[in-house]
């Protein structure tokens, strides 16, 4: 298991339980207001942003892994 996949796995699990019970039940409230939104709506927006961030970490990690693998197989070939 590569580090970027572990980070993503943890983030996805955190997202899941923040979007369903019990995490969502705890954080879905009106106060405090953030960016003019009730906290409950900001909470969902925040997790869309965090999911995007997590997917970026996953994607760039996967790309680097592939590049390394390609470089390694080229070395073997030469």
């Amino acid at each position: 298991m590569k580090l970027h996949r572990i980070i993503f796995g943890l983030l996805y699990t955190a997202m899941l339980f923040s979007m369903i019970w019990p995490g969502h039940a705890y954080f879905s409230k009106i106060e405090p207001w953030v960016l003019g939104l009730p906290f409950s709506i900001f909470w969902v927006v925040l997790w869309i942003a965090l999911l995007f961030l997590g997917l970026c970490i996953l994607y760039f990690g996967d790309c680097r892994e592939e590049n390394d693998a390609e470089a390694a197989s080229e070395l073997e070939g030469s």
Binding site: I20, W21, H24, K29, W33, P38, V45, I48, L55, L58
Partner: protein, 487 residues
């Protein structure tokens, strides 16, 4: 009101042109028609996936959920957040094995993995069974909107006929490329319309987005803004059991839908496929302003039948024609961009995994198969049109239930790529058990031990039977399974 019709007309004409053009120069083969010779780039795939999931339900249903049930509508966003991630992993693996063994549909890939024609035909039947009502729903949405903004001068069946006549033409001419290019147009339009309207409605009625929410809280409706929102009817609070399980079942369903899953095969490389899914949250965020449309109507227009809140806003809220036209074009785009994908997939799967696999049918060559798919597109479109024109069934309820059935494909997909020991008897048994339990609790909601989505109980039964039957049957041959696990 005329201006609104002109805007819709201009949009329809553009869809036709953009949809037909790519087909004029393309190769006439099955793979090109169904999977674009695995050459769809990530920008196009982004719009195909984004726009396929953004259906007329998103535009008509999300505001009505927000209007009636408040924060319960969050589930429509959350399901896509949960669903996009399994697809990142499963889709990448599917793409690889598809490129190696030449698969272009989900049923084909699963049928080979478990050396089972039965599984392939079963999945094809299930696909047609759930996708046709889905198609009918999209058509009704399009007909409904044109009927509404023409003040009834365009009957619903004519509206559905015009918009889906156009869809049928460009799908026939251009296949998946037509779907892709029109979805880029439709997706772009939807993003623009959603952002504009999500800003416009709160400003028009309250003077701003936070002013709108403050007004809701001040009027004592603050309870609508916190999850899990309200039960259908808008009186009782919804339960966390229901909210959580709806999010999970629908999320798993979203990444299992055959018409969405098979788009993994259209992609040229792992990287381009993954890039699409990384960008997917930019489509999800658009659902938030669509929710605002419904929230804006709560205080401005109390007491409207929730299912008709969008048509109400279109006709009775005294909005400028430009806004009415944009919202209508947005709904049409949402309907057609899902409808074209569904039409294309249903016909392709029906021929490739159903008809072609039946034991009494002779092998088809590429030309015959392509013609059979084209013929099926006309048939599927015709059948859906018939139901859209005559049926008065509440299809929204059927689609809600269909997610529970489609989610039952997820354990099969997971077993395909992550558990070598899974056997054909195991997955077929699991599917049948899952779907039966799902249908049982759908028909008998009072029998549920806890108020969860019926699909959840189906999934428990499905996984248990899959594991049990796989362990007592003979492991599949290594040669067949190996490509599914290769790096």
């Amino acid at each position: 009101m005329d201006w609104a019709l002109y805007i819709c007309g201009a949009y329809l004409l553009m869809s036709l042109i953009v949809g037909v053009l790519p087909g004029l120069s393309s190769k006439k083969s099955v793979n090109n028609f169904v999977a674009a010779d695995n050459s769809i780039n990530s920008v196009l795939l982004y719009f195909i996936l984004g726009a396929a999931i953004f259906s007329s339900f998103t535009f008509l249903g999300t505001p009505s959920w927000a209007y009636e049930r408040g924060a319960a509508s969050f589930y429509i966003v959350i399901l896509t957040m949960i669903g996009v991630v399994p697809f990142y992993f499963l889709g990448t693996r599917a793409r690889r094995v598809g490129a190696r063994l030449g698969f272009i549909t989900q049923a084909e890939m699963l049928g080979y993995r478990f050396s089972s024609t039965t599984l392939s035909v079963l999945l094809a039947a299930l696909t047609v069974l759930v996708l046709v009502p889905y198609m009918v729903l999209q058509m009704k949405g399009a007909g409904f909107i044109l009927n509404t903004i023409s003040n009834g001068q365009i009957p619903e069946w004519v509206g559905a006929g015009i918009s889906y006549g156009i869809v049928t033409i460009y799908v026939l001419v251009s296949g998946v490329s037509g779907v892709g290019f029109t979805n880029a147009l439709q997706g772009g339009l939807m993003i623009a319309v959603a952002l504009f309207l999500g800003w416009y409605f709160p400003h028009h009625f309250y003077g701003g987005i936070s002013e709108m929410f403050e007004a809701l809280v001040l009027s004592g409706k603050g309870y609508m803004l916190t999850a899990p929102g309200l039960e259908k009817g808008g009186q009782e609070p919804w339960s966390w059991w229901a909210f959580s399980s709806w999010c999970i079942v629908s999320g798993l369903g979203m990444s299992s839908w055959p018409h969405i899953f098979m788009k993994a095969f259209t992609s040229g490389s792992d990287r381009s496929f993954r890039k699409t899914l990384v960008l997917y949250p930019t489509f999800q965020i658009i659902m938030i302003p669509i929710m605002f449309i419904g929230f804006a109507a709560i205080l401005a227009f109390p007491g409207v039948e929730p299912d008709t809140i969008v048509p109400f806003l279109l006709t009775k809220a005294g909005l400028p024609a430009l806004v009415v036209g944009l919202l209508s074009a947005g709904v049409l785009a949402a309907s057609m961009s899902s409808g074209d994908t569904i039409l294309h997939a249903t016909a392709s799967i029906f021929v490739r995994d159903g008809v072609r696999k039946l034991p009494w049918n002779k092998p088809m060559n590429d030309t015959v198969e392509r013609r059979a798919i084209l013929a099926s597109i006309i048939v599927v479109s015709g059948i859906s049109f018939y139901f859209a024109a005559v049926s008065t069934l509440s299809l929204g309820a059927i689609i809600g239930a269909a997610f529970g059935g489609v989610a039952q494909i997820m354990p099969v997909l997971l077993a395909t790529f992550y558990w070598r020991r899974a056997t054909s008897v195991g997955v077929i048994g699991g599917l049948i058990a899952g779907i039966s339990v799902n249908v049982f609790f759908w028909a008998q909601p009072d029998m549920r031990p806890v108020p969860m989505h019926e699909g959840m109980f189906g999934l428990f039964a499905n996984v248990a039977v899959l594991i049990l039957l796989s362990l007592v049957t003979r492991a599949p041959s290594k040669a067949v399974v190996d490509p599914y696990f290769a790096k």
